[in-house]
Symmetry: C2
Subunit: 252 residues, 2 copies
DNA sequence: TGAAACATTTTTATCGATTATTTGCAATTA
DNA sequence: TAATTGCAAATAATCGATAAAAATGTTTCA
């Protein structure tokens, strides 16, 4: 019995939070349980996480030896993971000189913000234009799960937050666009971690903003949803820019 | 004497055609001569080329063993190159089942075309908005080189064609956007090769279209240049779609 | 004193071999 | 005959070791 290649890909309404970090498809979406995951997968996720949350700081050298020791795996998987992360713009490679965590800068942050707004605007509009009940339900569900999550567990919340935002877009029917949005999301989050999570989300009512975006999307009001989404990002962007202004350039 | 990391990156007006295939920065732009290039670099370029020009057909299995034999290198570089190509959407990876050349389809082609128009429009507008003499001169030069190249040498022409199109965009000041455009360009070219090079460029006067785009860019007429560029792509898109309609779905 | 040349150490890149997984085939069973 | 199971071959993933290159430190000589 010939099994089709594509059968391996599976997607479920009840997708786990682990799916997420893998949304940009550099690694397989299925098989993410610690048992079966390949060494490369584990290394990819581990290093990505370390860079995004800032455990590895910008520009830091990523020595193969150090990483193999820390991750308890060989050089090949680490190397492959780093190659993958290079494509995500989280790691820079220079021939014969190895890898390092991508540099951060004000310009880079603003580039990401601007591109994100442009691409997510497009994706959201297409997503809503192609809306189905199935998508609408997934959206409501992902929002609910995000709301329910305690804010104290930052990483858990961030995962659900990403799921919500990506669910908004994932009905757009354009896998490449989704991938780019996912990449830009991760790059952006990294700056949020740099600014410090606690400081963030103070004066604004983020929950209300999310609720409003959800409502507009469910109403299938394309313009309103897009406006609210971009506003959401731009406000966060302005807030982070304010934080960065008060930081030493070196720390950014 | 402490040498700064970034010094390795260099960019010159007189960039060679080899730069090009590497523009999406998965591999190093410098050090591309066959002597010093790393095994990974060589494998990346070789496999990318084979997939883009169709020597490796869509969906074809990419066995590590076969590739190491063909490229005369070990498994690690091949594996790393394939990982990189996965991020370029030219290769699909499935865990424990290896790699294969990305599938092609009508939807995929149209997705690429649409995204390309959206992203290049943005990039071109930014590029022109930030125009300098230096950029203008590079642009004229890249156009001249493309015009001068004999059409018979398809690969040489394609390289210069890409250089011209990417030069149009590369003043936009957004490395990530450039990278995405470069990726989409390569994905698109692949479909041109599938349609067959000879058939292409028949009834239209491509040279005139290029000339017109160049003129508008040099005049710094943002709207006109963008309109002409998108038109250029849409016409090519319509042409290819016509070709694909007459092809068996299997061959696409 | 300072810069060049050399040697030493560290680190990266690559290879060859080993292990784990999947696939295809054949035998078995309902 | 169709599905299932078990086995063997093929292939992918990973490891450990080696070769190549870069970074660092030391000496030599102007």
């Amino acid at each position: 019995m010939m099994r089709r290649w594509r059968d391996t890909y599976e997607s479920s309404i009840f997708s786990s939070k682990a799916h997420l970090s893998a949304m940009n498809k550099n690694i397989q979406t299925s098989e993410l349980d610690p048992q079966t995951a390949s060494a490369t997968q584990k290394a990819y996720l581990a290093i990505q996480r370390m860079i995004v949350v800032g455990e590895i700081s910008a520009g830091e050298k990523l020595k193969i030896g150090t990483l193999t020791a820390k991750l308890g795996t060989g050089a090949s998987p680490v190397r492959e993971a780093l190659s993958l992360l290079t494509s995500d713009q989280l790691v820079e490679r220079i021939d014969h000189r190895g890898f390092r965590a991508a540099q951060t800068s004000r310009e880079n942050f603003e580039e990401i913000l601007g591109l994100r707004c442009a691409l997510e605007d497009r994706a959201l509009r297409q997503s809503i234009a192609r809306a189905t009940n199935e998508w609408e339900e997934r959206l409501v569900l992902s929002h609910h799960r995000m709301v329910r999550q305690r804010r104290e567990d930052v990483e858990a919340f961030e995962a659900l937050h990403k799921t919500f935002h990506m669910t908004l877009l994932d009905n757009c029917g354009s896998p490449i666009l989704i991938r780019y949005c996912s990449q830009l999301y991760d790059l952006n989050i990294r700056y949020r971690y740099i600014a410090g999570q606690t400081v963030n989300y103070q004066s604004r009512d983020i929950a209300a903003e999310h609720q409003a975006i959800l409502a507009a999307a469910v109403d299938r009001d394309v313009d309103l949803a897009a406006e609210r989404l971009l506003n959401h990002y731009r406000q966060t962007g302005a807030f982070l820019n304010g934080v960065f202004s008060r930081m030493e350039p070196v720390d950014l």
